[in-house]
Symmetry: C2
Subunit: 247 residues, 2 copies
């Protein structure tokens, strides 16, 4: 686990700023928001389908994921959750969770009471738009994944996924020298892209052989962003970032 670059509140603010213009007053209010932290081991469920949480979970450190299972036990990873993300923000208005959220790596988590969020939004109504927008961006990412998993072949698909991870890590300051931490296993990447781990392995090898990525341990390096982006047919519009990412 890397060291924390920000306090929980600072991270939340930084994240929201990537998609919403916050005033100084709003930032101050967000700085005062109560966030209770805790830690969790890798590969542990954080909340589960059917739960009715009274708080939202902010990823502070580590990777997490949103997933669902079919009746016969096949897992689809629906989203990767990176530092700054709030995977169950939806629970503010959908009382019963329709998803599972689990840690991929050991994670440091921040919990925000629904009540506190509602109070905050009452006093600063523009923040409603900020959080709403965040849930809309999440939805947009689901759509892009549908396109990616449904219409692109595995090679393109994985290139696209890596692009997304890199851009999203970059906005929270977790990319340095075209390198970033990517601790998801091939098994998890496979479940995110709807393929088998065996095939995932082979495609990753192809990407490496073609010089699109290189990796050592959990560290991924992208020597040629433009080439990877082109290979993955990656267009960042769907992330709705205020500032153009990377390129």
């Amino acid at each position: 686990m890397t060291n924390l670059l920000y306090t929980p509140n600072q991270l939340l603010i930084r994240k929201l700023e990537t998609i919403f213009d916050l005033t100084d007053e709003e930032k101050k209010a967000l700085m005062a928001l109560r966030i209770q932290t805790s830690e969790i081991k890798k590969k542990r469920d954080i909340v589960s389908i059917g739960d009715s949480p009274f708080q939202c979970c902010l990823i502070l450190e580590g990777f997490a994921c949103v997933y669902k299972l079919t009746i016969d036990g096949k897992r689809q990873i629906l989203a990767l959750q990176l530092p700054g993300d709030i995977p169950d923000l939806q629970s503010l208005h959908l009382n019963m969770l329709d998803i599972n959220i689990a840690s991929i790596t050991p994670c440091k988590l921040g919990f925000i009471q629904h009540e506190d969020l509602h109070t905050l939004c009452e006093r600063y109504p523009r923040l409603i738009a900020a959080f709403w927008r965040e849930t809309l961006v999440q939805a947009s990412i689901f759509r892009e994944w549908l396109l990616n998993n449904g219409q692109r072949d595995s090679y393109t698909r994985i290139a696209h996924l890596i692009c997304e991870i890199m851009v999203r890590l970059n906005v929270v300051g977790l990319v340095h020298n075209s390198s970033f931490d990517m601790p998801a296993t091939q098994d998890e990447l496979a479940d995110a892209t709807g393929m088998t781990p065996v095939h995932m392995n082979r495609v990753l090898q192809a990407l490496r052989a073609n010089g699109l990525i290189s990796n050592h341990k959990n560290k991924v390096t992208v020597p040629n962003w433009d080439k990877l982006k082109e290979t993955g047919q990656f267009e960042s519009l769907y992330l709705h970032l205020l500032n153009k990412p990377i390129s």
Copy 2:
């Protein structure tokens, strides 16, 4: 096209009521909302990726869809939009559209100005939660489609899709005697499930042969809901309906 069962405002209210408890006062306010109607031929784009609409589009009659294209022109249908749906509700807070919306059949549409919606929500703040919740349900459907398209085989997948359509049509009163209008072509269903039209055709034949569905023209009949539901592994939790659907 079937006749309108409701006025545009009544349809909107009925739809919102399936996921949110409206007070009489709120209903009255919604009845007064200005909705401008228009018609559109089949297979026409309503709004396109890159647009920055100043209004939202309410489907009054007919089927529409949300879709995206890959660079090489492959189409993924991301959502079917049925009467009562507001496919671009997200444009309230995401200025630039990341999707295309098109009619499948000839459609009657209602347009609501963003400005009017914002004014309405200022005066009736609970309605913010209603519309926000609607966008969250849309997101939940995207997630279920990711699971469906990524992890279920084509037979199960299509059964699931038919279940969803039936339930969603039912809540707006468009299912009678286990029958409903399903005017999407096999080509469109294929693009929604990430398969080829040829294979879609064969799977539909299998479903018919097994007595799970029968159809005549655009009319689909489901003789045994429980069986179809089981085959499609369909659980309606993800639709977040206030009243339990059908079964």
